[in-house]
Amino acid sequence: MACMNCETDGGGCGSGCSCSSSLPLKATGAASCLCIKCKDGVPAITVGNQTEPMCASCLYVSLLSKFKTAVNNHGLITPSDNVLVAVSGGPASRVAVEMLKEIRSKAQSDADASKDGTMKVFRLGVVYVDEATVLRLPESEAEAAVNSIKEMYDGIPVHTVELDCVYGTDGLPSDEDGDSASSKLKLTKLFESVKDMTGKEDMLELLRMQAIQTVAQISGYTKVVLALTATRIAAKVIAATTKGQGYSLPAFIQYLDGRWPIPVVLPLRDCVARELALHCHIAKLTTIFVRGLTTMADPRSSLNNLAHHFITLLQEENPSREHTIVRTAAKLTSFSFNAEVVPPSRRRRNPRNHDKGGGKSELSPEFLCSICRAPLQSSDMSPQTETTVGNGRDSSGNYADMKSTCCPSCLFQIFPEDGVQAEEKYLLFPDSTRKASTSTFSQRQKWMRSQIQDYLLPEETSGLFEYQLLFLTTMKLLLNLHTTSIYPWISRQLLNDVY
């Protein structure tokens, strides 16, 4: 039976090919499946793009072209940018850095060849966040990891920071947060106080991003690249759905995330983890593995872990599942801070990438959860409690402010406490998180006041005049609400009486 994709000499083709021969193949010797992209009959070594047998170089070309398309079509990196790549030692970030190096050297040679010498090329650096304090790694293991990272990324600036740097405002411990030993202690206590494993993982991810942002701001970077693959994003979509984060889900999965002081971009959004890991192995790119919170643990130990295992299981049956999940989730309307700034040459080809000035925030500004920065729905923002309305409240805010500006998921996983326990826990959060929560709280109060300003009574009124004013204000309010109501005759009556 002739197979369109490969030529056989009587052997089978394995599951990557569409022909139905089922004889077992010898592993050694030339694989009978040939690369469908190469014209000169090069044997395929893997199944890429879900179903196509490909050789190693075509696999790399396919990954690189997806990366470049994402960067160019969505305006993720411009020549004037100073790009910071967050690395973990794993294959995805390793490949991201290699690809950026390649793009940069090509841009550099174009710039050198150009006549006027004004062409700029983006600059590159990497950051590694050492989480040994939280992960309870032995010091030798943590040190070995840092040294390996420095070796792997020799040639470009490598920034290594410890996670407790989030307790300082400028990378160094601030006076308020104490010295380095006490910030490590605070970090450990904060994590111990979160009993839920999923909550711990989520908080670790957020503090890691805060640490990366700190480094980016101090060292003058203008973009942060996160090597999130389609696999990890699909797992995030499933996990976020189980955590009830449906409203804020679109914020985390777009190419650009502008919520942070230094915007975060995801150029590997269209690549799957499996292909990147394979490429790393074939190209002999060294990677290291650092244990996480749930390494070696049961898949059910956390929702994130479970979602990841689920995606892996789906992918085994049908390799296109990850892309399908990401594509489906991408249909949800994103937020204003996800709007991309696309160069004019690309705009006509992709009208969907236009700068979305409106989106969900036409009527109200986006308020973000104090802990995870997820956009908050107005129904999620709990009303002011007794403890915040009082004379004893100082300008630094308190735990109730923070709790009223947290999303339900964070309240459940990370900050479920009340009373004295909540007060103690509030003090364990980094200073920047507490300040952000107070600021969000007061901004929200201001915005709410501005919405009802017209209906508030002026302060100096008394007696009958007050009642008349109250009546008139109520009527005005009702009229505004009911001018197109199902009771137009009431409106007309009121209109005649009042005016």
Binding site: C17, A27, G90, T229, A277, T295, M296
Partner: protein, 93 residues
């Protein structure tokens, strides 16, 4: 019975299950292949690597740097000096 010398490598964190040693040289008589791995090499948590008669989903298997999907997966016949690489894709970049 054909004695095969296989080199096994594991990456992506899998080496933790094999006592943190990444490369093993193994003499594997064919029918005993799987049991040998399970009894001798896997130091802990066998269920994280093996699932029934095959490897767990999320573990990429390369036979001589070629994806085992193209070689017949569990039906592939191995020969002397073959190199088998296991890569875990569960913890990505």
């Amino acid at each position: 019975m054909i004695l095969t010398d296989k080199e096994e490598e594991s990456w992506g964190g899998l080496e933790l299950l094999f006592g943190s040693v990444k490369i093993h040289e193994v003499d594997v008589p064919p029918p005993e292949g799987e049991t040998k791995i399970r009894n001798n090499l896997l130091k802990e948590r066998p269920e994280m690597f093996l699932k029934e008669k095959s490897v767990r989903p999320g573990v990429l298997v390369l036979i001589n740097d070629c994806d085992w999907e193209l070689c017949g997966m569990t039906e592939a016949v191995l020969e002397e000096k073959d190199s088998v690489v296991f890569i875990s894709t569960l913890h990505g970049g």
